[in-house]
């Protein structure tokens, strides 16, 4: 629209393709290629193998996949409950206090993850809550970091909700609890599912807080990938990264298209 001539367009488009290719496509492609490479010393790898995936399917790497999935599930579920609760409670509470509290729930996303981990380490290495060295402290760290995103997503969903259905329900005599369970929550279900997917995806890639607090028996995928590449085993690291990427994309795109329809988008 801005560039009218054909030659101008072709020039602009090849420029865009070059940037997109070098910056966004090449990194993903190269990790995919590395995860199935036997050896890679020159321009292209020599020989292909599924050995790295076989390595990643057993032993410590399999434990890492399990740890990441469990951590992501538990932390996302907690974030979903408190995020939805806070968003619903603040919706009824407009005005300056409501806004200030809303900002407060966003702050965990602004604090560096390493500092969140350090804070948890300091706070829960002493009584009354001794969590250091347990799996629970990893759940808590992930929960804190993703809670802001869950809250933000659900708040955004609520703000787009047309009030008609809820008002009709109230006029017909539905009590607040009934209205919440049968009208409001079903209406925002797509946002709840999408928020769960995003939380899960973010938790899967979390590194900064996890390296601060994880106990030896609960190594998540990013920590395991760092361990592998740090030891020089970059091919198994690439395979585990591919598993992480594919899981993340399935969670994101799958849950975004979940067969739940919003009844009343405004």
């Amino acid at each position: 629209m801005l560039v009218w001539s054909l030659s101008g367009r072709v020039l602009v488009w090849s420029f865009a393709a070059l940037i997109l290719g070098v910056i966004f496509v090449a990194p993903l492609a190269v990790i995919m290629l590395a995860s199935v490479s036997q050896q890679w010393n020159g321009i292209l790898p020599t020989g292909f193998t599924l050995e790295h995936y076989r390595d990643a399917a057993g032993g410590a790497e399999r434990d890492a996949v399990f740890a990441s999935l469990v951590t992501g599930f538990v932390a996302s579920l907690l974030a979903l409950v408190t995020g939805a609760w806070a968003a619903l409670a603040l919706r009824a509470r407009a005005g300056r206090w409501g806004d200030a509290l809303g900002v407060l729930f966003f702050i965990p996303s602004a604090v560096p993850s390493v500092s969140v981990g350090l804070g948890l380490l300091v706070a829960f290495s002493q009584k009354p809550l001794l969590l250091n060295g347990t799996t629970a402290i990893v759940f808590v760290a992930h929960y804190v970091l993703i809670s802001a995103f869950a809250f933000g997503n659900i708040s955004a969903g609520l703000s787009r909700l047309a009030p008609d259905y809820e008002e009709v329900a109230s006029c017909l005599g539905a009590r607040p609890g009934y209205k919440l369970m049968h009208v409001t929550l079903p209406l925002i279900a797509p946002y709840l599912v999408a928020s769960f997917g995003l939380s899960f995806a973010l938790s899967m890639g979390e590194l900064g807080a996890t390296v601060m607090v994880y106990p030896p028996g609960w190594v998540t995928m990013p920590v395991a990938i760092f361990g592998l590449t740090d030891r020089g085993d970059i091919f198994t690291g690439a395979a585990l990264t591919m598993i992480l990427v594919v899981t993340t994309l399935i969670l994101l795109l799958g849950l975004e298209r979940a067969p739940i329809r919003s009844a009343a988008p405004r």
Binding site: R9, V30, P108, A110, S115, L121, A201, G205, L249, L252
Partner: protein, 285 residues
């Protein structure tokens, strides 16, 4: 506020309803705010329970801390500038000179937001590392003895990785802003003989300024906090604040120093978060 007056008879009920925020607030306080205050406590109060600023000052006056602070600022500013330039370039092309499949490309770039940041660093090892594709091609192609491309294990490697990872955070608000620009304005301008660059400068950029500021300040916040990329590159000379905190706490078990540095890092991040909120709100983003 007129609503509140109209609803006056229900005031007692509304007041009660206000307490529904308490449970998630208590969770937030216990798991997030309480640990943050303990960081400050560990940094400023010594074992005997008295206020001891000297130890914290000693940490904050050290070479290691000042270097890390400078590195963090330089990397964050350079990365943010890179993200804004790249995001603007791509955004203009995707929105105003769209090619077939531009929508799909925008969506793919969007998914980068949810992918772990260290992925890019790992990929860069294969692409630009000393035994990577680029160096392999150059050494065999030009018959060189040693790999000519050597920027990966420096601040530039970190900057390039961060530009890749954080450009989508600028691109997303920019595309939203561009979609609101009145197309007929652009057509009129070009019918009147304005060249594309002039249209960009005088019509499109003013309309997209709020999105640039909001996306840029978000980038600044995220690049100051970035940890995975710096850890994975693992270059000796490239230590940022989050990495220094990790080193002090986990490698050296010096929690007092780690907490003192964390206090500065958190304060810096909260300041940038305030700037982002202010920019996003003030400019109607």
């Amino acid at each position: 506020m007129s609503d509140a007056v109209a609803l006056a008879p229900r005031a007692a009920k509304v007041d009660l309803a206000g307490w529904w925020i308490a449970p998630p607030l208590i969770v937030l306080a216990l798991l997030f705010l309480y640990p943050l205050t303990l960081i400050a406590r560990a940094a400023l109060i010594d074992d005997s329970g008295g206020l001891n600023l000297a130890a914290a000052f000693e940490v904050l006056d050290s070479r290691a801390f000042l270097d890390a602070l400078l590195n963090t600022a330089e990397i964050a500013v350079a990365s943010t500038a890179g993200c804004v330039v790249l995001g603007l370039t791509l955004g203009l092309i995707l929105a105003f000179a769209p090619f077939p499949g531009a929508g799909l490309v925008a969506r793919i770039v969007d998914t980068f937001i949810a992918l772990p940041t260290f992925l890019v660093t790992l990929a860069f090892t294969f692409l630009y590392g000393s035994a990577g594709i680029l160096n392999g091609a150059l050494t065999s192609g030009l018959g060189l003895d040693h790999p000519p491309v050597d920027f990966l294990y420096s601040a530039w490697g970190v900057v390039l990785a961060e530009v890749t990872v954080y450009t989508p955070f600028v691109l997303r608000p920019l595309l939203a802003a561009f979609s609101l620009v009145d197309r007929s304005q652009i057509e009129v301008a070009s019918l009147l003989g304005a060249r594309p660059l002039r249209i960009v400068r005088q019509v499109i950029l003013p309309a997209a300024l709020p999105a640039i500021v909001a996306g840029g300040s978000l980038c600044l916040l995220l690049t100051v906090n970035e940890f995975g990329i710096v850890l994975f590159i693992g270059a000796k000379g490239v230590i940022t604040l989050p990495l220094l905190i990790y080193d002090k706490a986990i490698q050296e078990s010096d929690y007092q120093a780690a907490c003192a540095i964390a206090m500065v890092n958190v304060a810096l991040s909260l300041g940038l978060f305030g700037l982002y909120r202010f920019a996003a709100r003030r400019l109607g983003g």
